[in-house]
Symmetry: C2
Subunit: 588 residues, 2 copies
């Protein structure tokens, strides 16, 4: 196919080009026939330009243009002219000109697409994913991926400027599962042995600190073979970093600096630093979440002190058991119907609550089914503690602390949704959550797990508690929360092999197992490991929020479905028996 | 561990800092005790600074310093002073100062390393790989990885400036093996199905062109499950790019622009453009290689025309069979002993030759075992055609064309080695090799394979030859060669689904197989595929050459051995039976 390559992109021509002879290459976007003329909008990723086929101007091109259909790929030569008065199109930057075509070459034809190539598309996501090559022509996906590119380059520039080195860590690594499942890769050369794909480059980046690289970063693919929930993908991307000879504030400062840069580049906004920091305990008490959304109020309040001497059995029990009584006001919801209140009670129960206590705030006090069990003072104190106003609705939940706070946190989000408290143009809210517990108890397996990961350092002063009260050991860990989503997290790591062994033991990992799985790391620590710590951004989610999207699939070029299928190429797929034989495996 | 974080790196202090109170963090590099004083060089990735422990200055620190050993991690506070006259050390940028220590904190101790942390190291590579965390502290590896970082950032900046978008393509993709074996990843959710790790993002980047992204690049990990040769790794990194609406010159121009930038950034050299272009045919005839090393001469010359009417049977045969007779001069080697010549004959035989014809150039003509079979004119013409001088040695090889030229090419490299023709400071030689054959014949499997890959476009004018003489179809393919290594290659792709189907058929791929393996791509081509083409750099090899190293393992943080093992963490490893059960596979 011989054709002239473009002199300009389809987003480039302006009035200053009028009279020039130009070549454009692109796709047929829309077509209109009008009074013997054919108007076509030709599109590429830079924009759209109107081209005109006029029989008097060039008959051959005009005749050829008759066959043009949507999504044909064409090359045109023509002359830029000012559009006739009244036909300008101010939406496009190219809207004041068009191109009179004197030569048309069809570079490729196109079948009729299964959906239109336009921003607002009402079709199933499955169809979009199957024809991802067409879906990706839509302006919103093009913009999202351009923004993703920009954010990645911004990150690289920023970390490079701050003396970070990008170092590639292996994709084929050792299987050390903890928490999520590893994806495995059978070895052909070593029968019965497997590589694993990294859940994160955690161990390698710590090794790089032992090696003295000091400031490492990487934008890197990670893999988790989990049952996929709505917003998870089997492969995802992290901006991963690690620093030596630092404390927590140094890392938080570097991360904040990046976010300031990103706000400026992407949102054209100034981010004020330093960011708000909430401890995990405060975030849970006030927002029922370790990733609180602060774009709206609806603060929760702990009411235990109000019921210190209550006669109401339900509250009395929790006060004694060191459970929690937490309250929240839904402003102006005092007129909710019984039906609405039942709905919210169901919502709370689905979230795990035994029940939901509600109270209508009236001129003369609280109206509620449980009011009769409480003293007038208690009722008065509820109102004053929660700063509830006439016409408001009060929710109270009680039970084991973290679980109950979480449920109220879920209800808080639900009420924000119902009351439309998050405006589309609400300023983004970015904050730190700090001082996480080092361990969390798992009811199902009846054991403690590392809340962040096993390499997280306990607070220095809490180390003695490892032997006496491990639930209250705090971690030197910190999460970055944007608009109620965790966009990243990190910690100061253990750099002492004895302390690391103690943590393994606390987690019920035997010496042999620890040696087999992490021996290379604890061994490395014996040869001069510096104090170090790091951070990792969930890059897909960060891009998603910057793009204002609700799904990470909208900011990935080729995402998979919830069951891990690529609908476009139908991976995973069956493979030849000979391939399996070479890998020494068979299917069972 | 409470410690002060550094005020300066270990490479930062100068005479202008004299008198300042500073904090340094780093590793104990060397230690000298002298007249009651202890001198230590403290090291980090930025450099080395001498610190001094003097009992009169600070007795406590001096006492503590007694226990310091190599590779201990320390934090010191002290005062910068001018070194006493005569003790300056001009090799280090910090050599005019040292730091009088008044406080020492040992951040971590270190066992004695199994080898010294220094540039010149005489130990086995296996030991270095096992203790890679220590090996990586050595200045050469630190410099190599810093350079790799710099080259990667340079690439990203360059391609970003040229409107390329970095778009991440999937690591978990569909298995479409051709040539090398895929690494497979069993699916847990879909029993009996497998993902494959990409051998390259080829199909995805072509899809991105169909989607209109126009200019794509990515620095990306690729995977090949091959039997590893010396300089291969199961995972390696490519700088991958693809462009639409372009011709071959556009792509070559973009690639040349990057190389010019890289020369400047890394080597501080100006690269003159445009680069030399050799066709595959010329490169083979003159250098016996499709990746010729032009840092030295030793050009080969085809002598068929000299022997057009020869009576010498061996040459006569090849002239008739359209084989080749190729000659090369080894300057000044006319005095090679019979022993040396036998050695070279063996060398040629090992490379696949039937034998090696040699001739000594004397004042009065050629002295050679085969001289008696040739006419005086033929002998004279050999000398004049090859421009051989008295005292030179002439080699002649004859046989099937490409094979024979390759063997002479191997001999050419061997002679360059023996004659030390490549000086250490020889200017690097970068060139293009173009006009490759589209297909190459494989003797073993008795079929044609795509020389580059199946998506490479034939020369437009050669398309009719696909039906008549496929061996002579040329590809729109081009390789970039630096100092005799292929550092990258690319091609204009087929963007027409009918032509693509024809190529599949030519390669013996049935319609069903093509549909199953590449249906998504050929299908995408039916919806408006633009003309496009691309290129991929072998990033590891490029960095290796820029670093002046002989192995890509010297420019990768965590390479694997020739049998694919990571000696540091012992991947691949055995995994739990439960993991295999979940993946529906068992070992056989």
């Amino acid at each position: 196919m011989q054709f002239k390559t473009r002199t300009h992109t389809c987003g480039e021509l302006r009035e200053s080009n009028i009279g020039e002879s130009v070549v454009l290459n692109g796709w047929v976007d829309t077509r209109r026939d009008l009074g013997g003329l054919t108007f076509i909008e030709i599109r590429d990723r830079y924009g759209v330009t109107q081209i005109v086929f006029e029989p008097q101007f060039n008959e051959e091109a005009h005749n050829l243009a008759k066959d043009l259909r949507s999504e044909f790929v064409i090359s045109v030569e023509g002359i830029v002219r000012k559009r006739p008065e009244g036909t300008e199109h101010s939406v496009y930057p190219t809207g004041n000109i068009d191109v009179m075509v004197n030569k048309l070459i069809v570079l490729n034809e196109a079948k009729t697409p299964p959906f239109q190539i336009k921003a607002d598309l009402d079709t199933s996501e499955d169809l979009r994913l199957k024809y991802r090559f067409l879906d990706l022509r839509r302006p919103n996906l093009q913009n999202n991926l351009m923004m993703r590119h920009k954010l990645a380059q911004t990150a690289r520039q920023y970390f490079d400027e701050n003396s970070f080195m990008e170092i590639e860590t292996p994709v084929l690594m050792k299987s050390t599962p903890e928490g999520a499942r590893d994806f495995l890769v059978p070895s052909r050369i070593h029968r019965g042995k497997f590589y694993a794909l990294p859940q994160s480059p955690q161990t390698y980046k710590q090794i790089l600190m032992v090696s003295g690289f000091d400031r490492y970063f990487q934008i890197v693919k990670c893999f988790r073979d989990e049952d996929l929930r709505a917003d998870r993908q089997p492969e995802f991307t992290q901006i991963d970093l690690e620093m030596s000879f630092i404390d927590q504030d140094d890392i938080m400062g570097i991360v904040e600096g990046f976010m300031k840069r990103a706000y400026k580049e992407i949102w054209k906004k100034d981010l004020e630093l330093p960011l708000l920091r909430l401890t995990y305990a405060t975030a849970m008490e006030k927002y029922g979440s370790d990733k609180p959304d602060l774009r709206f109020g609806l603060e929760m309040k702990t009411l235990n002190h109000v019921f210190q001497n209550t006669a109401f059995k339900v509250f009395q029990d929790q006060v004694q058991k060191k459970g929690i009584i937490t309250g929240m006001v839904a402003p102006g919801c005092g007129d909710y119907t019984r039906n609405q209140l039942d709905g919210l009670t169901d919502f709370a129960k689905k979230a795990g609550a035994g029940g939901l206590i509600w109270m209508r705030v009236k001129e003369d006090g609280l109206e509620a089914p449980i009011a009769k069990f409480l003293t007038p003072d208690e009722l008065k104190n509820i109102v004053s503690e929660l700063d509830a106003k006439t016409g408001d609705l009060v929710f109270i939940l009680t039970g084991p602390k973290d679980k109950t706070l979480s449920i109220m946190g879920t209800l808080r989000l639900e009420m924000a949704r119902r009351l439309e408290l998050i405006k589309k143009d609400a300023p983004p809210k970015l904050l730190w959550v700090t001082d996480f517990p080092l361990f969390e108890w798992d009811e199902e397996t009846k054991r403690y797990y590392a809340m962040h990961h096993m390499f997280t350092s306990p607070n220095h002063d809490d180390i003695p508690l490892l032997d006496t009260d491990i639930a209250s050991v705090k971690a030197r860990a910190y999460d970055l929360v944007l608009n109620g989503s965790e966009v990243g997290g990190g910690s100061i790591r253990i750099h002492d092999s004895a302390l690391q062994s103690k943590i393994f033991k606390t987690l019920g990992i035997t010496d042999e197992e620890a040696e087999y799985r992490f021996g290379f790391l604890t061994n490395a620590f014996k040869y001069g490991a510096p104090p170090h710590g790091g951070f990792a951004f969930g890059f897909d989610r960060l891009v998603m929020i910057f793009a204002g999207e609700n799904s990470i699939r909208e900011v990935m070029a080729f995402p998979k479905t919830a069951s891990g299928i690529s609908l476009m190429d139908e991976a995973p797929s069956t493979v030849d028996e000979t391939q399996l034989r070479e890998l020494h495996i068979k299917i069972r």
